[in-house]
């Protein structure tokens, strides 16, 4: 049973435009959510996180939105840059610092 789902395997965006990556979850016990970025042959790099007590968190070009009633979160990247091209994973945990449950990833391609 896939508790965290990223239904779009890939996304292509023009440089300067907004990238929106989506993630859905089924476990209502999840209370902490994270986004990681991964280049080939490297480990995941932490981007941004959000606690279930918030519905938005911003860090520079990256904003994460959480809709608890819909069990949905999204990552917005504005403006998108070619260096943002990578695989993005959303992850969730039932307590901050607990084991992470990952989605399958979305490969973002930002074209110049």
């Amino acid at each position: 049973d896939q508790q965290v789902k990223q239904n779009s395997p890939s996304l292509s965006v023009q440089e300067g435009r907004i990238s929106i990556l989506n993630c859905d979850y089924t476990n209502s016990m999840f209370d902490y959510f994270l986004w990681y970025k991964k280049y080939p042959a490297e480990g995941p790099t932490f981007l941004i996180s959000i606690s279930s007590i918030k519905d938005k968190n911003e860090d520079g070009r990256f904003t994460v939105f959480l809709n608890k009633s819909a069990k949905h979160l999204s990552l917005h990247i504005v403006p998108s840059q070619p260096g943002d091209s990578a695989v993005y994973f959303c992850a969730a945990s039932a307590r901050q610092g607990g084991k992470l449950i990952f989605g399958q990833g979305t490969e973002l391609s930002v074209k110049p």
Binding site: L34, G43, P44, T45, F46, G97, L100, Q104
Partner: protein, 111 residues
Amino acid sequence: DAGVTQSPTHLIKTRGQHVTLRCSPISGHKSVSWYQQVLGQGPQFIFQYYEKEERGRGNFPDRFSARQFPNYSSELNVNALLLGDSALYLCASRAGVDTQYFGPGTRLTVL
């Protein structure tokens, strides 16, 4: 400060062999977790250790074991390797309840 380090970078083994993977957490981090990532999927949780005690175990067979040392470094051991154990093995460390930070991984190939 150095990030999470893992060794070796790559490893090739044959079926039935045993493998030991090593991880050094970020300085000051007392918790280490191990994940397995197969191609096309997200990382899957294997173990979590905090202060040398196992705090969580994922749905992996008993062939997988781990331990954490007094200096908070960790080893992941896999016995009786199968072809399906071929994957990228990731180690993550965290301080307290903070975010988990990942190392570069060890790419294991089982022939």
